[in-house]
Point group: C2
Chain length 113, copies 2
């Protein structure tokens, strides 16, 4: 089921009304879910080409390579897309914490159930 | 960091312009990422209360309890929210496949990198 970059260009990803798709970053060794961010088509293409995670920042309205400031980069090992082609899953080798708070994962707080 | 249901009501979740927040469902035992769907506040409150995963269907414009038709329910073990309070992570015990295609996970296709 693997595809080439040309096939990637043809992949009918369902971007939302902002032209974005949610991307989950997961530690490829431990399975820990590290963060959720957004990609547009170019961020996905950069990620696939460079094997570093690129996202689109909704607050700053620009591309960012995860870790470009902090050094906490994500080396991308595998890229999956879901059945509806409206979500992306990256399996990454995370350098340092994924979260800007210094926590390993952005999902460090729990709702009591 | 746990919270009561009253505190949940006060939690300032950043819903998007459709009133939704993305929710990742992850197998609580294996760590496999199973799917990504969307919740509004009521879906999250139902999930926390009933310990079954409830989502908001954007295509059908209604609540759905995962598995209400298929029987492939998600027993919710833990609920996390992220640093920006704009994404949810459910750790679940998944009955049967999570994906409507019959695959265990919705992320069964890979982009070659």
């Amino acid at each position: 089921m693997d595809m080439t970059q040309d096939e990637l260009k043809g992949l009918k990803i369902k971007f939302n009304n902002e032209g974005l798709v949610p991307a989950i970053a997961q530690d490829h060794k431990t399975g820990e879910v590290l963060m959720l961010a957004y990609m547009n088509r170019e961020a996905l293409e950069r990620t696939v080409k460079e094997k570093k995670a690129w996202y689109w920042s909704r607050s700053r309205n620009k591309f960012w390579m995860k870790g470009e400031q902090s050094g906490h980069i994500q080396d991308v090992k595998e890229v999956y897309y879901d059945c509806d082609i409206d979500a992306i899953l990256l399996k990454v080798d995370q350098t340092g914490p994924a979260c800007h708070t210094g926590n390993r994962s952005c999902f460090y707080r729990k709702i009591k159930i």
